[in-house]
């Protein structure tokens, strides 16, 4: 997997909210077509890491980001069109956010922003993305219903379909299974395994076993620091450099 150039290359990344340090000097690489897992206890900086990748600091006047984030070799802290970046990077938030519009409009939102107007083309995108997010069969007869009327698990798959609708190169998932039942979680996990043939996925999760099931490589964050990055199998078979990593994956703290 290390034989090609990294999709995402992070060097010395620090994130602060006011005086509070959320991430401290993180460096890591994510390679094309892998699922990169990030585990760690609450407040370890996992979500801040994802927010920095999508230039989300612009929502939050309090948030400052330092260091280099290279996406396909481009330093995203210096790019001139942040909207184009966000179209290439899909995000799925921990709690599903169905935008206050129909299921169809939710999925067609990003393509419409990108300037696609033809109904047939939009129909095709909506159907393809809903199929890939394992939601199509459940909603194909009521695409005009409000997205917010779906169940929690369906809404989460809707947000995944929405994230896919913009044809992202990189998909960021932030604890997507928090509001989803185990059966649906498994279905989404299967979807992710298929998706990684085409795109690169960064998966932040509180469920250590989910990282084990899905991730090719896994990073362990603790107290704003990156403790270590390793092949997932090694990490879970005990080949770790740091005792704290072993304690965490074995459930002894956190």
């Amino acid at each position: 997997m290390v034989d090609n150039a990294p999709k995402l290359s992070v060097r010395n990344l620090s994130v602060r909210y006011g005086d509070k340090q959320a991430l401290n000097g993180i460096s890591l690489d994510v390679f094309p077509n892998e699922i990169f897992g990030i585990i760690g206890p609450a407040n370890s900086g996992k979500t801040s890491f994802l927010r920095a990748l999508n230039r989300m600091e612009e929502f939050d006047a309090n948030m400052t980001v330092e260091g280099d984030i290279l996406f396909e070799g481009q330093d995203i802290t210096a790019i001139r069109n942040v909207y184009a970046l966000r179209r290439k990077v899909g995000v799925v938030f921990p709690l599903p956010v169905g935008l206050p519009m129909s299921i169809y409009e939710n999925v067609a939102f990003a393509p419409k922003l990108a300037g696609i107007k033809k109904k047939a083309e939009l129909d095709e995108i909506v159907e393809r993305c809903l199929i890939r997010a394992a939601l199509w069969d459940e909603v194909k007869d009521r695409l005009d219903a409000l997205g917010s009327l779906l169940s929690g698990g369906q809404q989460q798959r809707l947000t995944i379909a929405r994230a896919l609708s913009q044809n992202p190169e990189l998909l960021l998932l932030d604890e997507f299974s928090i509001a989803v039942d185990p059966v649906t979680t498994m279905r989404i996990e299967d979807v992710l395994k298929e998706l990684k043939e085409e795109i690169t996925i960064v998966l932040v999760t509180n469920l250590v076993q989910q990282a084990r099931r899905l991730a090719d490589r896994t990073a362990f964050f603790l107290e704003s620091e990156l403790i270590e990055t390793a092949e997932t199998e090694e990490l879970f078979s005990g080949v770790v450099k740091d005792q704290r990593t072993r304690d965490y994956v074995e459930g002894r703290f956190g």
């Binding site: 006047a61 966000r86 995000v91 709690l95 956010v97 519009m101 990003a110 922003l113 219903a145």
Partner: protein, 314 residues
């Protein structure tokens, strides 16, 4: 002391405690009665006003008033000795034209201000703007009327080269500026009620600020925004003093914004003091009052229904 006796003693003390009403119980009672009286009194006052206005006007309205003439005639001559006529068509068009123009002024201003305050301004700018807007809403209407007479009037005469500056244009602009602050406050509340997660989700998909506002925030807040506009319309219908002073108070169906008009409310305010109680003129002014009451009631009802989103997607 044997155990069972002690048990009896304990349970009887618990029974006493459970059956004694302390101070807090009485205070709670008194407060709930007080709040109930306060809440009900508002309703009683409104009903009382309605009953009073109706009692004074209804006899005349159903008796000697020619309702067809009332709604379709432009002749409002209540003081004519030989042949008084009571047509409010001109007054209605006066009120409607002034309110319509006022909304043309107020809607873009207030929505623009609300969007700026809710979506763009931050920190101190935001707070001071909010205070300023609320301050504007507190300016008495007679002051606005004064501005209309002494500032807008010569300005309009000079700018448009017309003989009179007290007109639909003058009153509409004044009324628009009057209604804008309260509309801004309500519209801003509606925008603030849209969860930030919507904005983040849309921005994360690459939407620009404007796309987020137009495609996500405004549609999500549309009920609140409609309510803000309807409240402004209600304000326009009901406003009296500023319109009386700025509109020229001439009975007229306006054909241009520079025509003077007279509003329904201003007519009541200007004439009621000169009528004899129980006279036809007195009765017709109260009929006007009933009419205004019904219209504002309908507008408020629509606003209420719109806010609750009745008729939204099933």
């Amino acid at each position: 002391m044997p155990a069972d006796v002690q048990g009896d003693h304990l349970s009887s003390s618990i029974a006493t405690e459970l059956n004694t009403r302390g101070w807090d119980w009485y205070v709670d009672r008194i407060v709930s009665i007080g709040v109930f009286v306060g809440g009900v009194s508002a309703i009683i006052f409104i009903i009382g006003i309605f009953v009073f206005v109706t009692r004074e006007g209804l006899d005349f309205a159903l008796g000697s008033l020619d309702l067809k003439e009332f709604f379709t005639s432009i002749n409002w001559r209540p003081t004519s000795e030989r042949n008084p006529t009571y047509g409010i068509l001109a007054l209605m068009t006066g009120t409607a034209s002034v309110t319509g123009l006022a909304m043309l002024v107020a809607v873009p201003f207030s929505l623009g201000a609300a969007i700026y305050i809710a979506e763009f301004a931050s920190g101190r700018t935001r707070e001071s703007l909010k205070v300023l807007v609320e301050l504007l809403a507190a300016i008495p209407s007679v002051v606005w009327g004064f501005i209309g007479m002494s500032i807008m009037n010569p300005l309009i005469i000079e700018m448009f080269d017309v003989p009179v500056g007290l007109s639909v244009l003058n009153a509409g602009v004044i009324l628009g500026l009057m209604a804008a602050p309260i509309m801004t406050t309500i519209a801003e509340d509606a925008l603030k009620a849209v969860p930030d997660s919507y904005r983040e989700a849309a921005e994360a998909m690459g939407a620009t600020r404007w796309q987020v506002i137009f495609k996500v925030v405004l549609p999500a807040a549309k009920h609140g925004l409609m309510a803000a506009i309807l409240l402004g319309v209600g304000r326009g219908f009901g406003e009296t003093m500023a319109v009386l002073m700025a509109s020229g108070h001439a009975i007229n169906i306006p054909t241009s914004p520079f025509d003077s008009v007279r509003a329904l409310t201003a007519t009541i305010a200007a004439e009621l003091g000169d009528t004899a109680r129980g006279s036809d003129h007195y009765g017709v002014l109260f009929t006007l009052g009933i009419f205004l009451f019904v219209i504002t009631f309908i507008i408020n009802l629509i606003a209420d229904v719109v806010v609750k989103g009745v008729g939204r997607q099933k």
